[in-house]
Every structure is written in C-alpha cells, then in structure tokens.
C-alpha cells in the first residue's frame, strides 16, 4: 500500500524552499525600495524623492556620464574581443584548447586583485588616473565575459554556411558581413549584456582607476547608504528605482534585438 503522504506529494514541492527565499530576499527587498522611494520623511506618500533626484543637475550629469562610459567601454571591449574570438574559433587555433582557456582564466581570479594589478602596472609606466584609465580598467575587467559568449557561438557555428557562401562566389569580406556576423549576433548581444548594465554598479573600478571626476551612478547610491542616515534612504531608493527602470528598458531592447537576430538564420534556411 502506498502511503497517503507520498501520493499527495508533488515533485514541484522541491522548489518551495527556494520560492520562499526568493519571496523574502528578492521580491520583498524590491518592494522595500519602492516603499522607501515614495515615502517622505514624515511617512506619507510623496514624489519628493523623485523631484529631488531629477532636480539635481548633478544626478542627470552622472547618469549621462554612466551611460557614456558604459557605451564606450563596451564598444572598445567588443572591438577587441570579437577578432580574438573569431581567430580562436578558426583553424588551426580551434584545436588548441589550452590557448582559449588562457583567455578565459582571468574570470576565475578575484577582479579586485586584477584591477589592483592593472593599476600598479599603469602607474608604473606613468599613466595617471583619468577617465581614459578607468575605461581601460572596465575593458580589462569585463574582457573574458565579453569574449566567452562570442567565442562559444562562433566555435559552435555550422561551418557549412561559410563554405556554402564561399562556394557560391562570395569573397571572405562578404561572407563575414553577410553570414558569420549575423549568425554570431546572439553571442555579441549576450556579451554586451554581461558588461553594459554591470558597469552601472562598478564604482570600485572608477574609484580605483579613474580621477575624481570619473564616476558611475552606483557610487552615488553607495555613498548615500554608507552614511547610515535615514533621511538618505528615500533619496537613495528613488535613485535605485530610476536605475531599475533603466535596467528594464535595456532588457527590453536586448530581448527585442535577440528575438530579431534569432529569426535571421531561420529565414535564410527557408
């Protein structure tokens, strides 16, 4: 006879501990951010915190600067990572497993220590802390995360597409722009998404590598919370809420782009 309990039990119940954790430690904190963002000092609902965020020119300037440094660093990183991924995925390099491993290894080394190493080297060769060196820091830090998805897509790509294109008379440049590049776009998009948004929070890099004027919006939020002062929580939460909206917008753009690029090869097949 089966026990009654075993019959009632459904395998989905295995996820309940995790669901509880997510509810308490992921969803509820976001609700708290919302509550604090819309709460005035007297406890009533107010838009004051948001008015505060948008009335300070400094905030808008910092948001713009963050978008700027994220776009610049991500583009430079992509421009270096793509050719490297392309070479590593092509023969004869694709047979040297250790070679591609060497490019990915930094991923497993504490990023703060890598930034420390890079900063030591730059100051040794006489590069001062500046906007430019902060960008170098970002590129250095995120390089393996940009490289890996592009490399994975390129090395798993069906080589017969390229061969077909060459057989049909397209030159290497045309084959690349019309076949290889479109097919590798999912990897490119995932590489960009591994870098673009995280830069908003990477105030440690701008602080360690940049000059006093180089900063990201994450630094501002961290500062507000560092001075354990209740009055700042509402302001900091409102800023975080704005950041959350940016995250959602960037995500929507990303999923829109990847749904478009996923369609492209299918259309080619038919």
């Amino acid at each position: 006879m089966k026990s009654r309990k075993a019959k009632v039990f459904r395998p989905t119940a295995f996820s309940f501990p995790y669901l509880a954790v997510t509810l308490v430690f992921v969803i509820f904190p976001l609700v708290l951010v919302l509550v604090y963002a819309f709460r005035g000092e007297d406890g009533t609902m107010t838009f004051d915190n948001f008015i505060h965020v948008f009335s300070e020119a400094e905030n808008l300037r910092q948001l713009g600067a963050t978008l700027g440094i994220a776009a610049l660093s991500t583009s430079i990183c992509l421009l270096i990572a793509y050719p490297v991924a392309f070479i590593l995925a092509s023969s004869p390099f694709n047979k040297m497993a250790i070679l591609s491993l060497l490019f990915i290894i930094p991923m497993w080394i504490n990023f703060m220590l890598r930034i420390f190493a890079l900063q030591s080297l730059l100051s040794m060769i006489g590069v001062n802390k500046s906007y430019f060196s902060a960008v170098i820091g970002m590129v250095y830090d995120f390089f393996p995360y940009m490289l890996l998805p592009i490399y994975t897509v390129l090395s798993n790509m069906d080589k017969s597409y390229v061969e077909a294109s060459r057989d049909l008379g397209a030159g290497p440049v045309k084959t690349f722009t019309r076949v290889t590049l479109p097919l590798s776009l999912p990897g490119v998009i995932s590489g960009i998404s591994m870098m673009f948004m995280p830069i908003f929070s990477s105030y440690s890099i701008t602080k360690m590598m940049g000059d006093a004027n180089t900063t990201v919006i994450g630094a501002k939020i961290a500062n507000l919370f560092e001075n354990q002062n209740y009055g700042n929580y509402g302001y900091g939460s409102a800023l975080s809420f704005v950041l959350l909206v940016i995250v959602i917008i960037v995500m929507l753009i990303g999923s829109f782009l990847s749904s478009r690029t996923n369609k492209a090869p299918k259309g080619g097949k038919a």
Binding site: S3, F9, R10, P11, T12, A13, F14, S15, P17, Y18, V21, T22, V24, F25, V26, P29, L30, L32, V33, I80, P83, V84, I87, S90, F93, I98, L99, L101, F103, M107, W108, I109, N110, F111, M112, L113, F116, A117, S120, L121, S123, M124, I125, Y140, S193, M197, P198, S201, S202, S204, K207, M208, G218, I221, A222, F225, Y233, S240, L243, L244
Partner: protein, 277 residues
C-alpha cells in the same frame, strides 16, 4: 601566392592573440615578480629577491581575516546555493508551463538587475528586520552568507536545469510509484544523474561569491567585516594597500592557474577515455 597570403594571415592572427594575452597577463606577472621584492611600489627599485612579503602576509591579521571571511562566505554560500538551486530546479522542472515561466522570470531578477540595486534591497531588508519589526538581527558574516546564497542560487539553477531537461522525465514519478518517498527518490534517483551539473554549479557559485564586491561592500557598512575585495578597495581609499597584498595575489594566481589546468587535463583525459570506450 595563395600560400604566402595564408602565412601572412597566420602571422597576423598570432600577433593579435599574443598582444592581447600580453595585455592580460603582464599586470599579473608584474605583481608576481614584485611579490619577491620589498619595493614600496610595483616597478620601483627591485632590490634583493626575498620572501619578506610572504612572512609579512602571515603576520597581517586583518588581511588573513579578510581571506578567511572570503573563503567561509564562499564555501558555505556555494554549498547551500547548490542544494537550494538543485532542489529548486527539480521542482521547477515539474511545474506547469505557465507557472514555470513566472518562476523562471523571478529567479532571473537578481541576475539581470543592477547589482547596486540588489545590494540596496538587502540593506533595506536588514534595516526593516532590525529597526522596524525589531528582530534581534544585524549585519555580519551570517547576513553576508545569506546575501551570497541569494545571488548565486540562480546561477546553480541555470547550470542544473539544462542537464535536468536531458533526463527521462518519468524517472522521479516511477521511483515514487514504486514506493520510495520523495526525499529518497530525489537522493537515490535524481541526484546521482545531476552530480556533474551540481559540481559545475557549486564551482560557479563559489567563484561568483569570491568575486563579489558590491553586495558585500554595501552590506558590511554596518559591520566591521572585510573580504579580500572590500579590504583592497578600502586600502586604496584610505592609507594605501599594504605591500603584502602582492604576496596574497601571487598565491591566488598560482592556485587558480594550477587548479584550472589540472581540471582541464583531467577532463580531456576522461573525454579521450570515453572515446576509446
């Protein structure tokens, strides 16, 4: 003619790879070289080859504490995240499609969200628990471990779920129909087949935890506790990083390199053996 152009392109390709590899490893190499010197800065006058920094490292209580904290947080959180993430994957796997897509989306929140917002959420949660509903809790090692569990578990789920999809979906139900309880079915039927994915998930969670800075930094404002990341960061902001950090870095670089190369050699060997069989 075709041959020379392919030789040229091969040289150009090697050149690009070597330039990038040099850029990646030169900073690390300089730290290793200068970990055997007492020079105040990397690139300064080298002086004599010495192990002074290594003996200094083992006298720097704060740095040793930070290393210990990093390892404790990493190991405990990765262990719990592996268990939590694996059971979650199994549960989510058996959900109806509609509910599953909602849970999947919820589990990705911390992955796609800006880290600073997640960090702040944890911070506000602690303030809420401590000051609003007056629980006897506070920032500290336990809180950091919890935070790391929460941020690394989704990655374990991402690692285990693909493996789960390859398994026969009727196995768990067959085991339960044959009279094994749900726990026993999970442990004796599912887990052995998921072991490989769980190890990868654990490794991923562990490295993510070691690498974390933002969550740890924001949530240690209220507690006097450091990990390697926050220690180095506060060193740069305050009186400068102590020179013995170069010795610690060297040890970490060497350990990581050795571990990864051994792991890959073993993996390649296994793959070859499987091919022979």
């Amino acid at each position: 003619m075709n041959k020379t152009s392919s030789v040229v392109s091969l040289i150009v390709k090697w050149f690009i790879l070597i330039v990038v590899l040099t850029a990646i490893y030169l900073p690390l190499l300089m730290i290793i070289v200068y970990s055997f010197s007492t020079s105040q800065s990397v690139g300064g006058e080298y002086g004599k080859f010495t192990f002074t920094l290594y003996s200094k490292l083992f006298q720097n209580e704060k740095l040793l504490d930070a290393t210990k904290n990093t390892l404790i947080i990493g190991l405990v959180s990765a262990l719990v995240a592996t268990v939590l993430g694996t059971t979650a994957s199994v549960g989510i796997h058996y959900m109806r499609t509609k509910i599953r897509s909602v849970v999947d989306a919820a589990s990705q929140i911390t992955v796609v969200n800006a880290e600073i917002v997640t960090a702040m959420g944890f911070f506000l949660l602690m303030i809420f628990l401590r000051d609003v509903i007056d629980l006897p809790v506070n920032f500290g090692l336990t809180w950091l471990i919890i935070a790391h569990i929460v941020i690394t578990t989704p990655y374990v789920i991402l690692t285990v779920t693909p493996r789960l999809k390859q398994l026969n979906p009727n196995l768990l139900e067959a085991s339960m129909d044959l009279g094994a309880g749900p726990m026993r079915s999970l442990i004796t039927v599912m887990l052995p087949q998921l072991a490989g994915a769980m190890v990868s998930g654990f490794a991923l969670a562990f490295t993510l935890s070691l690498d974390d800075f933002v969550i740890t930094n924001i949530n240690s404002f209220g507690a006097n506790i450091d990990t390697i990341s926050t220690y180095v960061y506060s060193g740069i902001r305050k009186k400068g990083i102590p020179v013995e950090i170069r010795a610690l870095s060297t040890i970490i670089f060497v350990v990581v390199l050795t571990a990864l190369i051994v792991y890959n050699v073993v993996k390649n060997k296994k793959a070859k053996e499987n091919k022979v069989n």
